[in-house]
């Protein structure tokens, strides 16, 4: 029985290696460049909003940061609703997932999709189905960092 398993395992391994050799690799360099350009562009827009808020509206650093986040989240949510964010995401990859706009997209997308199952069990229950892990581990990490800061750093 064991030798048969081993034989099958060997066949499987050979097959998997061959299948993987056949599959073209994602274009890592091109994807990285696109992510860099789009991600950079989003951050530049953010900086622009930030500067405008400070210079023209006389906001302090904290207020300006808040208004920047809010604006970017709104724009990403709007683009998601118009079906444009997925088109950007297809090309930009991590460039549009990592910034705060990606977080907005990952909340609005399931909200739109699950509206048909009602506002409670659809939208309500599924809203964080994709962003949930980010929140869980993001908040957990910040608690740990906060504790370390509290006890070990003066």
């Amino acid at each position: 029985m064991d030798s048969l398993d081993l034989k099958q395992k060997k066949i499987n391994k050979e097959y998997q290696d061959y299948a993987n050799s056949l599959s073209p690799k994602s274009k890592v360099f091109k994807n990285c460049m696109m992510a860099f350009i789009v991600g950079g562009l989003i951050c530049t827009i953010g900086q622009l909003i930030n500067n405008l808020a400070k210079i023209y509206y006389g906001m302090n650093k904290e207020e300006a940061s808040t208004i920047t986040s809010i604006t970017l989240i709104f724009i990403a949510a709007l683009l998601t609703g118009l079906g444009l964010y997925e088109k950007i995401g297809k090309r930009a990859g991590a460039g549009s997932i990592v910034p705060i706009t990606g977080f907005s997209n990952s909340i609005v997308a399931p909200a739109m999709e699950h509206k048909r199952e009602g506002y409670v069990l659809g939208v309500g229950a599924k809203l964080f189905s994709i962003a949930g892990p980010v929140l869980v581990y993001g908040i957990s990490t910040s608690v740990i960092v906060g504790l370390i800061n509290c006890f070990f750093v003066k």
Binding site: S26, N31, G89, K90, M112, E113
Partner: protein, 338 residues
């Protein structure tokens, strides 16, 4: 041993081989912009088709395909002994809800994307054995409903790897009958569940190729036939890389099918339509068979085809728990007689 069996996995239908007397296909907009557009009966204008949800749109495609198949044969639901149907959604709700409207005695079958030949595999011997006169086989899938169930919400901005496939929006149906005119189903080879340990749900072609190769090989061994006995050998939705893998696996067994082998997943879209490796879904082999292949048989361009719809039998939960993806393929031989 039953006198209608050949070898380990094949039925030989000799008494009253069922004829495919009617066929219909409805597809989505993107499919309607592909190379096979002219062969489909109806192309829906958008994903919702005026319904409130994608699931409801898919259901309506299923129902209308069934009705159209019957209408073309000038039959009513009461003339049909059985409806065999399948789809990709949990609890095969498209097929069951459609059957509720159609009012035909019904068996819902789940074989993932292998559903088309799975339904035909079961319908054919019922007719050959004299247990039914008319059996309707319909399967469907919908890009949006499948995407939300198996992957991400549509509006999520994610990148798809090159081996990913695009679920076909559509429904295809064939009516098998003991009586009438049309190509016959002469052999049915039932597939085994085969798993070579592929875990990547974005590389379904590789997960299903061993099953396709296994059932096609079993068909040749059971019947004593070879690739040259068919004008065309067709698989369901292995797409570009799965197709290549199947050719290579069968070459190892001594069968060279390359010159007469097509995969429905490679036929339905242009490369410029950005579907990556190709198409997939229950509807993929269903609409290509009902729309394109049977039409080619009617026109006399091809006379004998070996059709193997292929399915990946995993669920989200099994994949998340680290299980590999089991594959299956069911084969039917369709031949024009006389």
């Amino acid at each position: 041993m039953s006198k209608h069996r050949m070898g380990g996995q094949t039925l030989y239908l000799t008494q009253n081989p069922p004829k495919i007397i009617s066929r219909a296909s409805i597809v989505g907009k993107k499919e309607g912009e592909g190379p096979l557009a002219e062969y489909f009966d109806k192309i829906i204008e958008d994903d919702l088709w005026g319904e409130k949800s994608w699931e409801k749109a898919e259901r309506r495609m299923f129902i209308e395909t069934a009705e159209l198949t019957l209408r073309k044969a000038k039959m009513e639901p009461r003339d049909i002994n059985y409806l065999f149907g399948g789809d990709l959604l949990d609890q095969i709700v498209t097929a069951t809800f459609a059957a509720r409207s159609l009012g035909i005695p019904f068996y819902g079958l789940y074989g993932a994307c292998s559903s088309m030949t799975q339904t035909m595999s079961l319908a054919a011997p019922l007719i050959d054995g004299g247990y039914a006169d008319n059996v309707l086989c319909v399967t469907s899938s919908h890009f949006c409903s499948a995407e939300r169930q198996f992957r991400y919400p549509l509006e999520m901005g994610v990148q798809r790897p090159p081996t990913a496939q695009w679920t076909v929006t559509g429904a295809g149906g064939v009516l098998l009958s003991s009586d009438g005119k049309g190509p016959c189903i002469t052999h049915v080879t039932t597939g085994k569940v085969i798993d070579f340990g592929i875990k990547d749900t974005n590389y379904m072609g590789a997960a299903m190729a061993p099953a396709a190769a296994d059932t096609i090989r079993a068909h040749f061994e059971d019947t004593g036939r070879g690739p040259n006995d068919y004008d065309l050998i067709v698989t369901g939705d292995l797409a570009k890389y799965g197709r290549k893998l199947t050719i290579d696996l069968l070459k190892k067994d001594g069968y060279d099918i390359e010159d007469r082998f097509i995969d429905c997943g490679c036929e339905i879209f242009y490369e410029s339509q950005d579907v990556h490796a190709g198409a997939s879904g229950c509807a993929c082999s269903a609409v290509v068979l009902a729309g394109y292949l049977l039409r080619k048989m009617e026109d006399g361009e091809i006379n004998r085809i070996l059709m193997a719809s292929t399915g990946a039998l995993h669920s989200i939960i099994t994949s998340q728990q680290g299980d590999s993806i089991p594959g299956i393929a069911h084969v039917v031989a369709i031949e024009k007689k006389g």
